[in-house]
Symmetry: C2
Subunit: 328 residues, 2 copies
């Protein structure tokens, strides 16, 4: 029986959406047990449905590593300690990203040999396998060449195991496609990947092509750049959605047009619904850790629970352990 | 009489689009003289219309600094030397960006006191003044805090003079809005801007908000990050345009919808036409230098000519000289 620990607190929309997501998830997944950690007075709807562990404190959104570690009675710390004690196979939280990253790394430690954890996200684009796997999305700022090479390994494994791409094409995000283009850490990482004949390492790629080229399965970047890439996509997509709405409201004729075109555009809207992806994984930490969006609603938190279940079922963490030790 | 030097060679679409752009531009701007530099056999249509200077060589797209400097008979080098000799007030090229950057910097030198030149682009977004000024878009890779502060000054001046914003709101691109978030160079630049009470320096901003917040007039970034930001917007916009087309083709009903909604969507298409912006400026170099897109068509190259004309008319380079020496 799979056991998942949920930190129910700290999200922008409160514990209520998490509670609803848990209820909906358990209805469809009777092979999973959940331990819900949080202020028990907010978790009453879960009584009889799953185990509840009380936690009076909540890690604030702006918390850093030291802040979290001091908050021993926070839902986040209590939940992570449950994993450490072996009482759960994986954990999900929608609380402070910085705090969760730091505390996961410190409490669960890194997989032996992994230098830095990366936040990995797979988002839907018209790729040959429907998703682009991107890491690091922001666990780090700048990364060394060795860390970028490890990210390439983790991204490849994630793409194979979770997205289901048997031989993912892997690229480094740079300011051009030539091997000699980019930050020195990227150029050296490129060289290392080529010299070690990394399977299906294609080369450097510019951001524009990374989005448009359907053959890009895995994109490896410094945490800061991966974060800029991801947030820029989000901002542009939202901006253009606004323009589309405006275009349909342009005049009476456009409004009529909307009625006819509605179905096609609902599909467009769904295909861009990044919230449906659910969560990002913290890969490299010695445990299955999913970070749900801070502003998750019921649907996206439920997706995050599904992502965690898949992570646990496919044994990604052990496979990374094998993969990393194999390539040291 | 304003004099503009045009390097006609090296663009993806050949000299023909440049020739057409020059002809169209001169018809509408009889207060401008142009010196067209390139293979004279390709510039025959310009005879009698503007001065032609023959240049047998073309700088290839992948050229670096040393390559260009060795190519003394290239249109790029000949054109830059005309500026150096005082025979023109400004220059535009759509050839190798790396080559043009390097050769402009070496031949024209920097404005005294400016540490690094930046590629500045103003692109149309729903901002309070219709444009977002972004620098550096890729002249550099990583920049020091001092360089970021100088970019803030150059971006402010550009926004005031060329875009027409009297008091531009200036931001630093980071991975969050807090002053303490981001690369150390960004954090230090933030501190320097606050301590010097830089006019209307608002703070750090995440990429998503940089696009969506209408109050963002100037965005300052490291060259590498600015390039990722810009190319990601381009890729996402193109991607979504493809989705919009697909949505309209979804079924017969959608196709009918397109007929009704066409006018509104043509406007959307135009508002995103970044090629209409024409060119990016190399600010910080001691001369008015515009880099047109490598894949410019006639319309976008003509826009680049207009941008150069405005740069010269508004005396941006001298104003930066004053501004920089004033704030050293």
């Amino acid at each position: 029986m799979l056991k998942m620990v949920v930190d129910t607190m700290g999200g922008d929309n409160g514990s209520k959406v998490v509670v609803t997501a848990i209820k909906n998830f358990l209805k469809k997944n009777n092979d999973v047990e959940i331990i819900a950690v949080g202020k028990k007075q907010e978790l009453q709807e879960l009584e009889g449905i799953c185990e509840i562990i009380d936690a009076p404190d909540v890690v604030p959104m702006t918390a850093g590593a030291l802040d979290v570690l001091r908050m021993k009675n926070s839902s986040m710390m209590i939940a992570l300690n449950l994993i450490k004690q072996g009482r759960g196979d994986g954990i999900v939280s929608c609380g402070s990203t910085g705090g969760f990253l730091a505390s996961s790394t410190i409490i669960l430690k890194m997989i032996p040999g992994v230098k830095r954890a990366a936040i990995v996200t797979a988002f839907p684009l018209q790729k040959r396998h429907n998703y682009l796997t991107l890491l690091d999305c922001g666990a780090n700022l700048e990364n060394s060449s060795e860390e970028l090479v490890q990210f390439a390994w983790m991204g490849r494994l994630y793409s194979q195991i979770v997205v289901g791409v048997s031989e993912p094409n892997v690229y480094l995000l740079s300011n051009g496609g030539e091997d000699e283009k980019g930050l020195s850490t990227i150029k050296v990482a490129n060289k290392m990947l080529r010299e070690s004949k990394f399977p299906n390492f294609v080369g450097n790629i510019e951001a524009r092509e990374a989005i448009l080229d359907p053959n890009v399965d895995v994109l490896v970047a410094n945490g800061f750049d991966g974060n800029v890439f991801l947030k820029t996509i989000e901002g542009t997509a939202k901006y253009m959605s606004g323009l589309i709405k405006k275009a349909f409201k342009h005049n009476l004729s456009s409004k009529i047009g909307y009625v006819f075109a509605k179905k096609g555009f609902d599909e467009l809207k769904n295909s861009l619904d990044y919230k449906a992806v659910g969560g990002a994984l913290l890969l490299g930490v010695n445990g299955a850790v999913v970070k749900a969006h801070g502003n998750s609603d019921e649907r996206s938190f439920e997706s995050a629970l599904r992502v965690l279940k898949k992570l646990i079922e496919t044994n990604v963490v052990d496979k990374i352990k094998e993969g990393i030790s194999h390539n040291e």
